[in-house]
């Protein structure tokens, strides 16, 4: 009785210490991101930001709800197509084009989720993969997507009707703001009663059912939210790079976002951020090296799965905790 009280008190102080640590970390990273475009090529930073949000959104289903989706490229790439089309052909302003892409991804996520959740475990992965492949084939065939060329020269437009996004710095800060909003949404979702139910479903679905909750409903909400945020990331990428193409809907993209989450550390908030930065940075470096990128990505998968399943952030955290105790 006594010892349990002590341990709970110490865990509370550990939590608040961790919280303080996180605040400092966020402040440092925030300041770094604000000055970063002075030091690094902004378009490269934008790419990292988009994938950070994509990976964080993906982690919501894999890391917290325990659902392995192999089809997130459909949301990322599908939203990119819709946003690009909305901005270029419908001449919608920047914000509405983003909204169109995000809404599309959310609806697609709702439909895919409703189907895939009817099956468990490994089947869930296969169904999401097959559904996403269907979106890929549609993107290849439908006239508005432009086939192999994709939708090119998408106009960036103006933020709030005044700030010209053709200015790369303005574009960078806009994407930074969008990513920050997305990350806050993920953080809120995870640290809410909803997020705790999700983790409970991952650990023991039967028990959650016996508590009178409906796991299907929670999984579907999480999946839809994740799809919407992935779509938001894809939409921002389409506008910033002025391009929506088949690369974004290809199954390799679904694989890449899994790797980012796995490599960084799934089920953590920081992990996907670290993982996305590493993978995008690595690809940037490899693209000029002449080495086979797909092979190296595959190798990273194998090494990650065999050697460190907690990911870079997870292993680091464990190391620090061991040193502390």
């Amino acid at each position: 009785m006594n010892s349990s009280t002590v341990s709970s008190v110490s865990s509370v102080s550990a939590v608040s210490g961790q919280f303080r640590g996180n605040i400092i970390l966020i402040a440092v990273v925030g300041v770094l991101m604000l000055v970063a475009p002075l030091l690094v090529y902004p378009l490269f930073l934008i790419k990292i930001l988009c994938f950070v949000l994509f990976a964080a959104a993906f982690n919501l289903v894999l890391g917290y709800a325990g659902l392995l989706s192999f089809g997130h490229a459909a949301f990322f790439g599908g939203a990119a197509y819709i946003t690009a089309h909305a901005a270029k052909v419908w001449h919608l302003p920047f914000e509405l084009a983003l909204l169109a892409g995000t809404t599309f991804a959310a609806l697609l996520g709702l439909a895919f989720g409703a189907l895939a959740i009817r099956r468990h475990g490994i089947y869930f992965a296969m169904i999401t993969l097959a559904l996403a492949q269907m979106v890929y084939f549609l993107a290849v065939q439908m006239p508005f997507t432009g086939g192999e060329d994709g939708i090119q020269a998408v106009p960036r437009g103006y933020l709030f009707g005044i700030i010209d996004l053709r200015n790369i710095t303005a574009m960078y800060y806009t994407v930074l703001g969008g990513t920050a909003i997305g990350l806050v949404i993920v953080w809120r979702a995870v640290n809410s009663p909803f997020g705790h139910v999700l983790s409970a479903i991952r650990e023991n679905e039967t028990r959650v059912t016996s508590l009178g909750l409906k796991p299907e409903r929670y999984k579907l909400i999480a999946f839809t939210l994740s799809a919407a945020l992935s779509g938001f990331a894809g939409s921002m990428k389409a506008i910033a790079f002025q391009l929506a193409s088949l690369v974004d809907v290809n199954w390799h993209m679904s694989g890449e976002v899994i790797l980012m989450t796995l490599l960084g550390g799934m089920g953590t908030l920081i992990g996907p951020i670290v993982g996305a930065s590493i993978v995008v940075g690595l690809e940037h470096f490899l693209s000029t090296s002449g080495l086979p990128i797909t092979f190296i990505i595959g190798l990273f998968f194998v090494v990650c799965v065999m050697m460190f399943r907690r990911g870079v952030y997870g292993e680091l955290k464990l190391l620090l905790e061991r040193r502390r105790s």
């Binding site: 392995l68 189907l115 895939a116 009817r118 099956r119 475990g121 490994i122 089947y123 992965a125 296969m126 169904i127 993969l129 097959a130 559904l131 492949q133 269907m134 084939f137 549609l138 290849v140 065939q141 199954w251 390799h252 694989g255 899994i258 796995l262 086979p292 990128i293 797909t294 092979f295 190296i296 990505i297 595959g298 190798l299 990273f300 998968f301 194998v302 990650c304 799965v305 065999m306 399943r309």
Partner: protein, 295 residues
Amino acid sequence: MADIFGVPTSVLLGQLLLGLINGSFYALLSLGLAIIFGMLNVINFSHGAFYMLGGFTAWFMLSTLGFGYWTTLIAAPVAVGIVGAVVERLLLRRLYQMDHLYSLLLTFGIALMLEGLFRHIFGAAGKPYPVPSGLTGGINLGFMFLPVYRAWVIVVSLVICVLTWLAIERTKLGAYLRAATENPALVQAFGINVPLMLTLTYAFCVGLAGFAGALAAPLYQVSPGMGSSLIIVVFAVVVIGGMGSIGGAIFTALALGVIEGLTKTFYPAASSIAVFIVMVLVILIRPSGLFSREA
């Protein structure tokens, strides 16, 4: 010549034949997937990559080593099977005790490595592979022209599928396999080397994929991407059929090949997504799959 819904019979039958051929490849692959899943509890994402490896090994043996078609058709699957055994021994084995997710991701990584490597060495373009001299030409059946090689592909795939099914359902070795699926510890206690059996099962099923690749080489060109596009369709086939029954997997694979062929005849634009639409319908109507034992 008679028309069916405005389509000439010969065109319809030609597409049906193509559908059956695709179905044969789906069957060889989904059969292997189902057995691996049943025995090892692993979804083998690299199955498509091993199919591609079979095609390339056959191409290499034929064009560089100068082997004949028949030698190649045996040697290539054996080579792929050996690679599979090594993968199982060194990597996959360590993950049996863990969440399914990790073995899926491991085999996905292996698939990327193989595809990336071959794309790097050979480029994305396909390598031509001649039809063996004994199987060229065709037979005029009166209502349609039947290329001999295509008939051979369908027959040999079906024979292999049926033999595999018989081996598992009707032989003593098959009985051990099925017993080991139910309770590996007990089977091991009876003095059967279960780990070895798992290695051999994986090697055999991966070899089947390699065989399919070597068989497909003269029909489609050998290219690094040939496996990944196929494996996703095969996954859909597996979802539709359920992995509980081997006979069900074979039947579903052939039926879906035919459905795909029919779609190509009547509504070509939808042919690439036909299998996925069937999958959606099956999930809606019978979520556990058509031949699943879980119900």
